[in-house]
Assembly symmetry: C2
Homo-oligomer: 407 residues x 2
Amino acid sequence: MSTRSNISFSKKRTWSHDLPISFLMQQGVENPGVLSLAAGLVDQSSLPIESTRQALESLFTTPKMGLEALQYGTTAGSVALRTLLLSHISNLEQKPADELGITLDNIIATTGSQQYLSLVGEILLDPGDICLVAAPTYFVFLGVLQGLGARIVSVETDEFGMRMDSLESTLDMLESQGDLAKVKMIYVVSDYENPSGLSLSIDRRQQIVDIARKWSKSQRIFILEDLAYRELCYDGPVTPSIRSFDPSGDNVILTQTFSKSFSPGLRVGFGVAPLEVCAAIRDKKGNDDFGSTNLSQHILTRVMSDHLYYDHVATLRNVYREKRDCMLEAADEYFSDIPGVHWVHPNGGLYVWMTLPESIETGFQSPLFERAVHTEKVMYVPGELFYAVDQGLPPDEQLAPQKITCG
Amino acid sequence: MSTRSNISFSKKRTWSHDLPISFLMQQGVENPGVLSLAAGLVDQSSLPIESTRQALESLFTTPKMGLEALQYGTTAGSVALRTLLLSHISNLEQKPADELGITLDNIIATTGSQQYLSLVGEILLDPGDICLVAAPTYFVFLGVLQGLGARIVSVETDEFGMRMDSLESTLDMLESQGDLAKVKMIYVVSDYENPSGLSLSIDRRQQIVDIARKWSKSQRIFILEDLAYRELCYDGPVTPSIRSFDPSGDNVILTQTFSKSFSPGLRVGFGVAPLEVCAAIRDKKGNDDFGSTNLSQHILTRVMSDHLYYDHVATLRNVYREKRDCMLEAADEYFSDIPGVHWVHPNGGLYVWMTLPESIETGFQSPLFERAVHTEKVMYVPGELFYAVDQGLPPDEQLAPQKITCG
């Protein structure tokens, strides 16, 4: 009775051990004096205190609205918010919603876009199923895929984002290996990707839809389009999404968030998908939490109907453009003399990707990381985290993930 | 190119089809004039408009606090809130936290207690693994188990909740079938269960801990204790939890929510578990949403530190006691003449369980449900939903779930 029996965890629990994000956050907590260029909190001083306060005032001075915000909502999210999202999407795409083939029923509100990404993974991927990703790509999503026991296959990138010839040849290779039927989706961060700062060029947005359709032989291959940064554009207007090149909406699942463009503390994201996919997401989300925070959805509804939102985004663009320029100037000043060091000029988003000479290790265990954090008091995310390792095996037969060092 | 290929969903997607909660909510939406005794919204008029407004004012008049609330939080939830939860739990149990063996690190904040329940299922249950439940029990959790492909085995109940002799004989039967090693947990709603209104008696709270330990042979068997209604007690003080009878904390995972005792619109719940379990939950939650709504956690922190919480709960107890009494008086007046009709007097919570004669069908397709909703304009939840069907087979080999009609 006094000896403790072992905990027998589920198989999938063993697939989500030791996520690097935990290490990064722990480093942040343990080294509070360090300037973190890692694990993206948003700019603290430009958070929308005043707009939120106004929205709350307008919410709570009308008792009916206040009561609704404090009551349960529905699994799919507030109808008022989703109605506003429909015109928001339409504004961003510069196209009427019906031309985009999107109605209220295609939209589901979630706890950040992270929950939407995770739900899409849950409903589509069995262990061993395949998701294609850019190399490098958003490492937190790699963790989601790993946690589901999915096989991650990387596609090469260049300065215009994911390379379409590499995508085709990867699909061709998977078909010749007899694995095409396991390919469920292609994950793409279209604008100012975390970490590369790069965007998928416009002509590739049409091409990727055509490729997804062409290779949807025995089953549909979805493009999971992550538009977390789309509104943070500093050098021009918002870019049309991949989804806008698929007016049927059959092959693209899109997700966006208000975490970067308004406030991550509200945790409101959303996604747009075909109705069959929405039904599956609703069922899973019904089991997981039967609805994200209703109050947050009501706050955003007020923020958008009281026309506080777009002004805030305009302000943010100026704030972040200045920060980006400052970072690029510093890079120019301190790194341009060093042979083999180069970096990307991102047109939006929060990330600058820097490449060091092959000979310099950058990982958590490297002398560079050690010195950066403990001596120079600056933390960065090692590039190796953004590369998936495809071992071509179901998760049970895989070795512990190997680290690739990105030079 | 123009013909749509089929969507190949994950296997688990097929296990979460057609949840009855969706049907109930749809009925509610389609019949707005109906008085719903189903699908538990909380009492609208007693929602804490004024306390929330005060908490928001104190939050947003201190810019530092306001900014923190609008920034990202952490996966485990706000340290300030979890610190207050530690004394909250201690208050409810009338025992110091260290005597209970609970520290900050044992607590994780979630999107309602529903997310906590779902996460525990995710990290412990593989398809075919067993969860024991009371019959009847909370049907939304049955949906979670079904969605994970778990095998649900029912244990008999009487007026003191789950019967310990039935629990022992069920475990004995599972052992003789060679299935004991698949038993991962026993789900118990200790106080004023949804739907029965019944509570587990105090002596059974000690017994169930002993039974879980005794049968933890090759692996640990957890009691997953759902305390959603514990603070809504109308006839006496808060009851000590099962967890309080397991000071080692090894065999009990506890979850609570502020949805019933404060506001469901904030979607804040939490759970207490051994550290190994917390690590697993954090990893899964990190992939799922990397943290629930930070603003809600900050609001609750203010509500609790500004001493607005317990007053609100005291008010709620009066409001709901009156509603319960009104319901029981109506039952006395209209049903006591009808032979074979009886009902429970719940000492707390939101539910009154009524049993009709065997001959009367009560399901969604029954004439009674039809007449109640469309003629009498009252909606109830059919009792059959609260009974699991154990087909003793892994989910892939099961037939479609059969409906049991509860007389």
